[in-house]
Symmetry: C2
Subunit: 339 residues, 2 copies
């Protein structure tokens, strides 16, 4: 019963004394096959350590039980450090896939290069999940191309008007509102914002809008001067905050568009001998693992990554199955810690 190479369904058929067709049916528990034959086949298959050849199976059925994840990195980020928020997402997406019986192909994309978005074209994956902040070079036109090719995909991130793709995202606007309400409650109305309030990054923009609008509802106008641009890295947050301080701009609260930015901001504040939270309260966004490790522990707006991963996967699967799917907005959550 020893073999060279992997066993095929023909081997099983031979040893079980049935035809290969029957083996195939038996292994997939088709009701067409007799209970006893089924048992016999399963038994032989187990003994030979037989596994269905996915390539053959996929080829025939024209589907792969595999999803592809394209992770877009912040172009300026150094290559060994990946945004921890996306890593959390990756974890939950993997798990969600596994739960649905799908495998996951992971690819990190440098947005500068050509996308490696041909997983579906080449029948490697049934659908694609796009993960990344911001609006990359040619993002729109590339999405358009995916749509034209009738590729099944879902995006993580802000729903942009006029972009007809299916998205799952955190309610960034609502998160901004939560942050504002929290600071107002603590009478900190002289606020700085570190992030990017332009349209480059729709997520950051929405967070800022929700933040600003809430203040305005309380008849407080945020000063344009107290804003600094930053991308989602610790370093960028540090330098942006540093430049505010250097320009002698004062504030008693700071809202950062992401936790990494917030962590960098806190470093800059502490270096300038500004006490957190006594002098300046800080609120971040994402609730990355490190947020609870830094000291003082970061107050932040949590995105529910577990749920997000599940929604991305289940929306994508529904799309693949041809069901009607709507873009999904997930509620954020204020986590009050020590800043």
């Amino acid at each position: 019963m020893k073999h060279k190479g992997k066993a095929t369904s023909f081997d099983i058929a031979h040893y079980a004394g049935v035809s290969q067709s029957t083996v195939s049916r038996a292994l997939r528990n088709s009701p067409l096959v007799n209970e006893e034959t089924r048992r016999k086949v399963h038994e032989v298959a187990a003994k030979l350590n037989y596994k269905v050849d996915k390539n053959a199976s996929n080829l025939r059925t024209q589907q792969s039980s595999t999803l592809a994840l394209l992770l877009f990195e912040d172009p300026t980020t150094d290559e060994s450090k990946i945004n921890p928020f996306f890593l959390s997402m990756l974890g939950s997406i993997t798990r969600a896939c596994a739960k649905e019986g799908y495998d996951l192909l992971v690819s990190f994309q440098s947005s500068s290069q050509d996308w490696r978005a041909d997983y579906e074209d080449s029948h490697r994956a049934d659908g694609i999940i796009l993960l990344g902040y911001g609006d990359y070079l040619d993002y729109q036109s590339r999405l358009q191309k995916l749509l034209e090719q009738d590729t099944k995909f879902v995006c993580w991130g802000a729903k942009v008007d006029g972009r007809p793709d299916l998205t799952v995202s955190c309610d960034n606007y609502g998160g901004g509102q939560l942050a504002a309400a929290h600071l107002i409650e603590h009478k900190r109305t002289d606020c700085a914002f570190i992030g990017d309030a332009s349209h480059h990054c729709p997520e950051f923009f929405a967070r800022y809008q929700g933040f600003k609008d809430t203040f305005e509802k309380h008849n407080i106008t945020l000063s344009e001067r107290k804003m600094a641009n930053a991308i989602s890295t610790e370093d960028s947050g540090y330098h942006a905050t540093k430049s505010l301080i250097a320009n002698n701009i004062r504030f008693n609260a700071l809202f950062a568009a992401s936790d990494l930015i917030a962590i960098g901001a806190i470093r800059a504040l502490q270096e300038a001998n500004i006490k957190v939270p006594n002098d300046v309260r800080v609120v971040g966004f994402d609730n990355i693992p490190a947020a609870s490790y830094v000291s003082p522990a970061l107050t932040t707006i949590q995105q529910n990554t577990t749920l997000a991963g599940q929604m991305l996967v289940s929306n994508l699967l529904n799309l693949i199955r041809g069901e009607k799917v709507e873009s999904t907005l997930l509620p954020p959550n204020l986590i009050v810690r020590n800043t």
Copy 2:
């Protein structure tokens, strides 16, 4: 020239006015095909947005240009937080795969459940990378089974004597030596160790051994009492350190088996009003991204994840190609920060 469904090589053949065989050859730039035909075929293929069907191709060639990554989680860790060190590894492995033209299938394994290690059996992947700390339930016997099946795989982690698998690992023993040398240099010889010095986690054990041996070379014996067990989480490090303090155990330096443990330890020290690094110097292990964010920034032993990822992938590929491969030991690196 508009099609329903995806184009096949027959479609290309039809439009290019050649046979399907020639299309296949032309697309793979076989020297057998005439330059002009080659160009023509490529042109038509591009126009039809043709992509080779990987399933068909893999089925025929019996290889998948895909590697699988099995990530074993610390069983006690809450599901949304994954050890950041492994996430860094994941990033570098992805990149290394891409560079070699391989795709990567990612799977998170709960070690309690059955391994999902049949990627090779089912021809989904040409080889497997195993990533995880420690010696899990049935780890040995499962590896044995992989070996018997002649599955190609490499492991990250300590080389355990008598385990005939191919590994890539950081020189954990050497890292422990570095940590010890650093502390001795600063005259901190009254050291605590937080981790697991038993054999449960061979990586942690090797780190401790290198640490201890270096002290002994300086005629200093580490007190068994100043050790506490912890798994690689912030929380575990916190509680372990807390219990040392509660037992009135004093020390002026602390070596943590991982950065997460170190970060938890620092929190416990600070809560007990013990100053870091003035009262207690702390050295971690891994150099996870958060290590540089926490304050004071963590002094730690760096593992070169970029190189590690590359070595895992290239060793595995060599193994697949049937070349002779040796287990690889990577040199660690002391990163001095503020603890």
